[in-house]
Every structure is written in C-alpha cells, then in structure tokens.
C-alpha cells in the first residue's frame, strides 16, 4: 500500500473515532444536562431504596426468666396464589384441591373458589402458616402457588394465660393484657435504611447511604409461674366441666410480696386466633368482673369489729333461731342457730351474727373500713381493665344496708379486691399492691423496670389479723363450711361464699356465684388464693363447688413451692 493510502485510512479512522466520541459526548450532555428532572428522579428512584426496618418485639417470660417463653416473634409464611397463572398453566384443579385443602385446613369448595377467581392475580390461600408446613405445600410444585414471608407475634401455648398476656393487633400494637400495658417497653424502635440497589433490587452495599439499626423491644418477665398457672388452669377447666358453669376465675398471690403467681379466667380464647373471640371470652374476670361477694365478705366486718375492740372471738351473739328482723325486714341464716360465739359464727357463716356486729360498728365506721380495704377502689395491679367495684357512700345507704353489705349484698367487688382483703389478714394487716410484672430487661440486658413489693395500706392491726387467721382456720375444719378446701398436713384459713346473682332489681333463685377465698399455712401464710365459679349447676354452694378446687390447687401448690407445714418449721427452729 502506498504511503498516501495509509495516511487516508488513518485519517478516516481518526474522523470516525472523533465522530463517535463527539456522538457519545452529545448523548452524555443530553442525558446529564438536557434530561428532564422527572426522568432523572425516576431513574434515581429505581436505583435507590428507602425502607423502615421493623424492630423485633420483646419476649414475655414467666418468673423462671429466660426458661419459659410465653410470647415470641415467629417467622411464618403466607400461602398465596395467582389464579391467572394457575389457569394458564392448565393445572388439574381437582387434584390440586384434593392435595392442598387438607394441608391448608380449608374446605375444598372454598379453596376451589379462591384458586379459580377470575380476573384476580393474587389471593391469600392461608396466612400465618408455620414455615415447615408451608414448605410442604411449595413442594407440590404447582405453578401459581407461592409463599410470602411474614412475621407474627406468636403465643406457643395458645389459650394458656390468655387474659394476662393479651395480644397484638394487625398494626403491631399491643391491644390487651401485658402486651398493651407494657407496649412502650415491648415495641422497640424501628430502624431505617437508605441504599442503592442493582437492577434486581438487590442492595449494593457500597451504595448504602444511611443505616439506623432497629432497637429490639425489652423482654418482660412476669411474676406468673407457668407450672402454677397450669395447675390452676387444669383445676378451673375441671370445675367448669363438673359444674356446667358459665365462667370461673382463680387468682393465686404470694402473701408477703403481692406477686401474682397465677391468674386464670374462663371462658378463654386462643391468643393466636384472637380475631374469632368474643368480648365475653376476652374479659379477664379476675379483675374486670364485679360481683356480689356473699359470705366471703363477712371477714371484713368481723375484722373491723375485732380491730375496734368491739368483739373478740369468744363474744356471744344471739342468732335468733334463724330469722332476725331489722327495720321491719327479715334477715335469715341458711341453718338456724340459737347462740354463737363470733368464732363459731365465722365457721358456720351466720348472716345474723355478722349483721349484728355491723350494727354495733355503725355505718360510718364500717364505711371507713370498707374504704381502707379498698372496696370501691382499684387495687392498682399492673394490668389494664381493672374495675373498682361498687360501693355507695354511707350517706346513700338504705336503712338495711348496714345489715346487707357486711354479708356481701349491695356491694360489688372484683376477685382481686377479695384477694386483697384476705391477703391483708394473712399479712399481719399490711395490704400489698398486687403486681404481675417482675422485671423488664432492655435489649442490652439492663433492667429498665422492676416491679417491687409495695404496701398500699394497713387497715387492721397485727393482733386483729392473727385473731382473724385463727377464726378463719376453723372454717376448713370438720363442721365448717369450707372443709373441702383443706390440705393434708396444712392448716388452711378461708371462707366460703355463695351469692345469688342480682337480676331485674332482685336476686335470682337459680343463678349463683360460688367462691372460696383463703390462704395457707394459716399460722404463717405463704399464698392466698381465690376461686370463684359463675352459675354452677345444679350444686351451687361455695363449699361444694369452689372449695374443692381450692383444695386441689393448694395441695399441689404447697408441694411445688416447697411450703413446709408449720409444725415442721417450728420444730426446725
């Protein structure tokens, strides 16, 4: 080739390259300078992701701390389908339905309707399914059926302790029980991520602009003991079944600290399926149900009179052979008695004896004791939904209220208030605030909240409490109304109650609330417990319905808690 030809070729190549470079330069200038703001924004958005990172909610433990988890977070799967893809793939619908329906726990027809929904490209077949089970569905390999990952609050034991734990709603907010009360500790704070992504929306780590780590919620430890709770729930279910009751509730509390060891209420509901529960099932009757306490309330009036020095356990009252007229209205005893000492009156649960003591106490003094025992006031437990009960001021009492309130009529209480009354007698006159939250640990393990024993009042003296304990211990002895609550080797103090339910301004003759409140060992009490049963049939007395349940739970409880019979304790000393 001639030298000129070479030069021409080099020149042409240079021109082509120059034109290409100019072309690229113009395109670049066009893209960078002349491209509209909206297009640039769109491109930027596609390459960038901003996301809020959900903070894991804290767990809830029983009193054995990290051993027993009562509420946790679980990664679950939603089983989804695209009906349009299923139709296009020509899957055998009959075979698909027959295989999937049992796995999804769906009716065949429902599933068929979902899978063949016309014009739909997305449908949930089942939400919140355990990952292992969901993977089995994926393994069938049907086109158009796929899984979606999701997190949910899960309660491993379903209905267990349902009224105490509460639940978290769809927005992730605690809506009942501990979940609601401890929301600010459990929730944690969400994180934030702003980052660049590739064409497949995968994060490019080097393009990460901002990352704020989510702060996990704190872990809540309860005073509830899972094993005691189980004993209580078993007993409550057996009692409900045995007596065909409408409802029942049991609370167990440590006398000296006010710690709640167990709290059960029936009817209950499955926490993992709270959407299908009624308001009645969600009601924690232990603190949100007010009822007339009946004879269990007599202890308050007698304690007040002993505290005032008006009576002793040996003071004798005339029980009028079963019927006593006060201001023209008759008051009757279940069994007629002639003369009874106060101690025998407690043992036999005499209405007349209690009413006479109340009359000698007077309205104002009785009212002040009622208030001191927090009747008509909440106990201040760290759970939502506590009711205050009903107690009218003395100025609004009718002429016969002084004889009816002491026997637990015309006054309404919660189980927690009754537990407070008997707990005070058991605890030398000191009333402890009931508490259910032992501790909250922050994500770094630091203690951010601690529930401590707190004295909220001292309505009676030590000596009064001691006298009351002696008298109440006789109730579970032979001849007493609560002998079925006795525990072998231990002395149990308590009181039975059978209250007619108020209906249409009067009292029902067929519907009752049977209860037993007591503590043990009577000489040096460790635990106080209430058992209440709503509308038991056909037997309806506290002594026959509630006392046996008390005895059953208490006999297991003393062994589980290593409570020693007092004789052994004294011998050791």
């Amino acid at each position: 080739m001639s030298e000129r030809g070479v030069k021409v070729r080099i020149g042409l190549t240079a021109v082509v390259l120059l034109l290409a470079v100019i072309g690229l330069g113009v395109r670049l200038a066009f893209l960078h300078i002349l491209t509209g703001e909206d297009v640039r924004e769109r491109i930027g958005k596609n390459r960038r992701v901003e996301a809020t990172i959900e903070a894991p909610r804290g767990k809830i433990f029983d009193c054995n701390e990290e051993e027993n988890i009562l509420a946790l977070n679980l990664v679950m799967k939603n089983v989804c389908a695209d009906p349009s893809v299923i139709a296009a793939a020509g899957e055998d619908m009959d075979e698909m339905v027959s295989k999937l329906a049992p796995k999804l726990a769906l009716e065949s027809e429902d599933l068929r309707r979902k899978l063949s929904r016309e014009g739909s490209q997305f449908v949930y077949l089942r939400r919140f399914m355990p990952a292992e089970e969901a993977e089995k569905i994926k393994a069938f390999g049907y086109k158009g059926v796929f899984l979606e990952e999701t997190r949910m609050r899960y309660y491993p034991q379903g209905p267990f302790l349902c009224h105490v734990l509460g639940f978290v709603n769809h927005e992730g907010n605690g809506s009942a029980g501990i979940e609601q009360r401890m929301e600010r500790y459990l929730k944690g704070s969400p994180g934030y991520l702003a980052t660049g992504v590739d064409a497949r929306r995968r994060e490019l780590y080097l393009k990460r602009e901002q990352f704020v780590k989510p702060v996990e919620g704190g872990n809540v430890t309860l005073t509830i003991d899972q094993n005691v709770q189980y004993m209580v729930e078993k007993a409550i279910d057996e009692t409900m079944a045995e007596h065909s009751a409408k409802g029942a509730w049991i609370v167990v509390q440590r006398v000296k600290t006010g710690e709640i060891l167990a709290m059960a209420s029936r009817p209950g509901y499955d926490l993992n399926d709270f959407r299908h529960s009624s308001g009645d099932e969600r009601l924690n009757r232990a603190l949100g149900f007010v009822y007339e306490p009946g004879s269990t309330f007599k202890a308050l009036t007698i304690a007040a009179a002993v505290n005032e020095g008006l009576v002793t356990s040996e003071t004798v009252f005339d029980c009028e052979k079963g019927t006593w007229f006060f201001k023209g209205k008759p008051l009757r005893d279940y069994h007629p008695y002639d003369k009874l000492t106060v101690a025998d009156g407690v043992k036999k649960s005499s209405n007349i004896l209690t009413a006479k003591i109340a009359v000698s106490l007077g309205e104002e003094r009785l009212y002040s004791y009622l208030r001191a025992f927090r009747i008509g006031r909440t106990m201040g437990i760290d759970l939502p939904g506590e009711e205050a009960g009903i107690l009218h001021p003395a100025s609004k009492w009718s002429g016969i209220s002084i004889t009816r309130i002491p026997i637990g009529q015309g006054v309404a209480v919660t189980a927690l208030q009754m537990l407070g009354l008997y707990g005070t007698i058991a605890n030398d006159g000191y009333m402890m605030r009931p508490h259910i939250i032992k501790r909250v640990d922050g994500p770094d393990g630091e203690v951010v909240y601690e529930g401590r024993p707190e004295v909220i009042g001292r309505p009676i003296k030590s000596s009064t409490a001691s006298t009351m304990r002696e008298m109440l211990a006789r109730v579970t002895e032979e001849g007493g109304t609560g002998r079925r609550a006795s525990v072998e080797g231990f002395s149990v103090a308590g009181k039975t109650g059978t209250a007619q339910k108020p209906v249409n301004g009067g009292y029902s003759s067929s519907e009752h609330i049977a209860s037993f409140v007591g503590f043990l060992p009577a000489e040096d009490p460790e635990v106080v417990m209430i058992v209440a049963v709503d509308d038991p049939q056909p037997i309806h007395t506290g002594g026959r319905v509630a006392a046996p349940a008390f005895g059953k739970v208490a006999s297991e409880l003393v062994r589980y808690l290593h409570v020693e019979p007092v004789e052994q304790k004294i011998a050791r000393r």
Binding site: I69, A131, P156, E488, E556
Partner: protein, 123 residues
C-alpha cells in the same frame, strides 16, 4: 557516524522525572482500583453475612418456638399420658427434707424413708 549515534540516543531517552510521575500515578491508580475491588468484595461479604445472620435468626426463632412448645406443661402431660406414666405429688408423709448443717446418717434416713407410707404408683 558519531552524529548518527547521538541522534539515536536522543530518540530513546525517556525523561526520568516524567517516568517517575507516571509510575507514581500508575501505582496510585492501581492502588485505587485494588482498594475499590477490595471494598466491593468486603461489601459483598458483609451483605452475605447479614443475609446469613437473618436466616440463622429465623431458624433460631423457629427452634425457640419448637422448644418452648415441647417443654410446655400441657405437652409434657400429653407425652406422659402417651407413655402411660401417671405422676402424682408425694404425700406429706413421703417427703424427707434434708437440711444443711449436720449431715443425716444414711442409716437413719433409710429407716425414716422405709417407715413412710407408700402409694402404689404405676404398678
């Protein structure tokens, strides 16, 4: 001849300072590229470790759930029933309390235990 040789030498001489600058620039460029690649590799590693951590965390949550469910009192009861094991609480007379301090003679303890009431269980 002498002139010719000098010309050739002049044509191949590369200015030493310029060469030095070029070497420094090339070294810096290479170092930059190497660091860029290293950062990218570390980024990828961090990302994959983050993903692994997430997967492990999910596994941990599921195992925690299974363990909790397995040792729940209700499940333990169910398992005991399946194996036909009936457990009862000991009677007060069957309980032997061992206290701290002076050790109890084994013989005395055995006598005490043998005298206590027995309940036929699972027999």
């Amino acid at each position: 001849m002498k002139k010719k040789n000098r010309k050739r030498v002049d044509g191949f001489v590369f200015p030493v300072p310029f060469a030095g600058v070029l070497i420094v620039i090339a070294t810096l460029a290479l170092a930059y590229v190497w660091m860029g690649c290293r950062c990218e590799a570390l980024g990828r590693e961090i990302k994959s470790l983050e993903q692994e951590k997430t997967v492990l965390y999910k596994k941990y949550l599921n195992e925690e759930y299974r363990w909790t469910q397995m040792k729940s009192p209700r499940n333990l009861d169910r398992v005991l029933a399946r194996h036909r094991i009936e457990m009862v609480w000991p009677l007060p007379s069957q309980i032997v309390r061992l206290r701290g301090g002076r050790p109890i003679e084994t013989g005395r303890l055995l006598t005490h235990v043998s005298q206590s009431e027995r309940v036929a269980m699972n027999e």
